[in-house]
């Protein structure tokens, strides 16, 4: 019974990782850029949600939408200012810029409001425990899992069934050729960042309602874990992020259950190393050969 409880714990933790990893993997899939600032957009989203709830007196869903919209704009601004000038620069230059942007957002936030933490109101969503054969499941974890699954499906539909999705896939396949076919590459990439950042914003608000405590550096570790989750599932592949996130949550819960709670974070990064050595394309990735 205890094992089942730990599996439930792992899945509820993993759905948070999956939620963040979705945005990560989508941006990578289209632009081939690991957007290290993603975890910090997640943090900004959590704060926008917090202020909409406490200052504007909104309930959960309006706050979620405001945060998603604001983060979408924020993501596009980041892309326009920091990444666009480097569109044709080396991959490593863009990567370093992403780390710089991440540090700037974190410290900018500390500069604006200080480093102290805030606590989300605890009565936003009904929280009940559902008991099944002695295993207790929180209604909020089911909600998170549900939201992640729904967002994943919406994302799949956008990428595979809509015109903008077609443009995204074309840009991801060959940006030059897409341009020749009359696709506006800049707008397509902006749209990618807008959607990815909106997802991060949503994850921020959900994280806040679930874990209550938010602070300017809250995005660092979940951001890295989500990155591991995305790599585990095969970076760039949307269902892969979902599965990778859930798996990572399960691994962490089981490591803690075995009595090694201090090794939990280490376990996540050991997974990253093992995946990169033995299965660099991830669980869902196809082994593509580099074209010569």
């Amino acid at each position: 019974m205890e094992l089942f409880q730990q599996l439930v714990n792992g899945i509820s933790l993993g759905s948070i990782y999956a939620l963040i990893a979705l945005g990560y993997t989508m941006v990578y899939g289209i632009v081939k850029l690991i957007n290290f600032a993603h975890g910090d957009v997640f943090m900004v989203g959590a704060f926008i949600g917090f202020y909409s709830i406490t200052v504007l007196d909104l309930s959960f869903f309006p706050a979620l939408l405001i945060s998603m919209a604001a983060c979408a704009v924020f993501g596009v601004i980041i892309e326009r200012i920091a990444y666009k000038p480097l569109r044709n620069a080396t991959r490593i230059a863009a990567l370093i810029t992403a780390i710089g942007v991440s540090l700037m957002i974190e410290n900018g936030m500390i500069f604006i409001r200080g480093a102290q933490l805030e606590a989300y109101p605890t009565n936003l969503l009904p929280s009940e425990n559902i008991d099944i054969f002695g295993v207790s499941i929180k209604s909020q974890s089911l909600l998170i899992l549900g939201v992640s699954l729904v967002l994943m499906m919406i994302l799949q539909i956008i990428v595979h069934k809509t015109k903008i999705g077609k443009a995204m896939r074309a840009v991801s396949y060959d940006a030059e050729a897409a341009k020749l076919m009359g696709i506006n590459v800049n707008n397509t990439i902006s749209a990618t960042f807008a959607i990815g950042s909106a997802l991060a914003g949503a994850a921020g608000v959900i994280f806040g309602t679930y874990y209550i405590k938010i602070e300017p550096l809250m995005g660092v570790l979940p951001g890295l874990k989500a990155f591991v989750a995305a790599v585990l599932g095969g970076i760039g592949i949307i269902p892969g992020a979902m599965v990778g996130g859930l798996l990572l949550g399960l691994i962490e819960a089981l490591v803690s259950a075995a009595g090694f709670s201090l090794w939990r974070d280490a376990a996540a990064f050991v997974v990253l190393i093992l995946i990169l050595i033995f299965l660099p394309q991830g669980l869902f990735g196809k082994n593509k050969r580099e074209k010569v």
């Binding site: 933790l13 480093a115 102290q116 606590a119 874990y211 209550i212 259950a257 974070d265």
Partner: protein, 390 residues
């Protein structure tokens, strides 16, 4: 190229001039003129901000009161540095206070880890360092050797852990206990060790020992482990950020036994994070209670409320206030012109000084001997439960 070189020379000259100017400015020693400089190196932002802010408020109230009379015609001046709740910043702040501001006495930091980061500097520069609330025993003496220039206003960790263990055994009748430690904090380990010793000595059994690190947010897997060990009592000697989440998640996963911790829980943020329901049936040991009917305490509480818009002072504010009086008492005895070394000797001989947090006497390791209060959370508010004498 040439232009660049010239600019470089000019720049370095002006930098050097600036540095020299800085030197001559700070030549003044702490007790020259009409002021006695007290340095405060506290957690004004960061994870421990709530502690540092309270300490400063208490100190400023006390200094305002003390400056009405002054000591030998001199007034106190507070020089504040924010250590951002980081040990490296705390060390930097102590260096600035001793070599740049030349203070007579340093106060800080509010947490043990950040105070330990300054101990070496205080001893080297021979400037007394007083932590208002750092309870780790290594601060004032380590391996039997006393840190000559380091003092504290609060009681030490072993005492809090011992009080909690006795309270669990005698009042709550607990036979088994689990300990959940913040392994990144010296404070947490100190309390846990003392608790374990006192609890097992009294015939209790520790059924589970688990740990976490600061900034963790998900404790459910470990709490499931603790739940299956079925303890009568859980001791969580950690800080409010994580304790809030631990209590909330513990209650949600159905652990309803009493939880107890030390003064690290004492913050209004704890109630915001955990919620009043999760805090039912939890206890803390603390330095004082604002609800204690004692006359001196009530006098302090009303003065504090008058100055800070009806805010009720927590223990950190009380100890900040007491620290200022502790220093003032020593300087009064040593004389207004006393050197930092003379102040240190006077601090050492403190005996029977009546403070808000109890009558204080220092033992040979610079640790105060005084009483502890046990508080219980009822509807999200601390209620005075009982007072334990050493």
């Amino acid at each position: 190229m040439k232009k660049n070189k010239l600019a470089g020379i000019l720049l370095s000259v002006s930098l050097a001039a600036g540095a020299l100017a800085g030197c001559s400015d700070s030549e003044k020693s702490g007790s020259d003129g009409d002021t006695i400089k007290i340095g405060a190196n506290l957690e004004l932002t960061g994870g421990g901000a709530s502690y540092g802010q309270s300490v400063v408020e208490g100190m400023e109230l006390a200094i305002g009161e003390l400056n009405k009379e002054g000591i030998d015609g001199k007034k106190f001046k507070l020089v504040k540095y924010d250590n951002k709740s980081e040990a490296a910043e705390a060390t930097g702040g102590a260096t600035k206070l001793t070599s740049q501001d030349k203070v007579s006495v340093m106060v800080g930091a509010a947490t043990s880890t950040n105070t330990l980061a300054q101990v070496q500097i205080a001893n080297d520069k021979k400037i007394p360092l007083i932590t208002p609330t750092g309870t780790n025993s290594d601060i004032t003496s380590k391996d039997g050797k006393v840190n000559d220039f380091v003092f504290r206003t609060c009681f030490i960790d072993p005492f809090q852990g011992t009080v909690a263990a006795n309270f669990a055994k005698d009042t709550l009748k607990a036979k088994t206990a689990a300990i959940y430690i913040d392994s990144s904090s010296d404070y947490s380990k100190g309390l846990a060790a003392a608790f374990k010793e006192a609890f097992t000595e009294g015939g209790g059994t520790i059924v589970k020992e688990e740990s976490f690190v600061q900034k963790d947010t998900d404790f459910q897997a470990t709490l499931t482990n603790i739940k299956s060990a079925k303890p009568d009592f859980v001791f969580v000697p950690a800080f409010y950020e994580e304790v809030g989440l631990i209590l909330k998640q513990a209650r949600e996963s159905g652990i309803d036994v009493p939880f107890m911790g030390g003064d690290g829980w004492d913050s209004p943020k704890l109630i915001e994070i955990a919620g009043a329901d999760a805090l039912e049936n939890t206890f803390i040991t603390n330095h004082y209670s604002a609800e204690d009917p004692d006359e001196k305490i009530q006098g302090f509480v009303s003065a504090f409320k008058a100055k800070y818009k009806d805010k009720s002072p927590d223990a950190f504010a009380a100890l900040g206030y007491d620290t200022a009086y502790f220093i003032a008492d020593a300087i009064k005895r040593a004389g207004g012109d006393a050197t930092p070394e003379k102040i240190k000797d006077a601090l050492e001989s403190t005996d029977g000084l009546a403070l808000v947090s109890g009558k204080m006497k220092l033992d040979e390791n610079h640790n105060p001997i005084k009483s502890a209060s046990i508080l219980k959370y009822v509807n999200g508010e601390q209620k005075f439960e009982t007072k334990v004498n050493p």
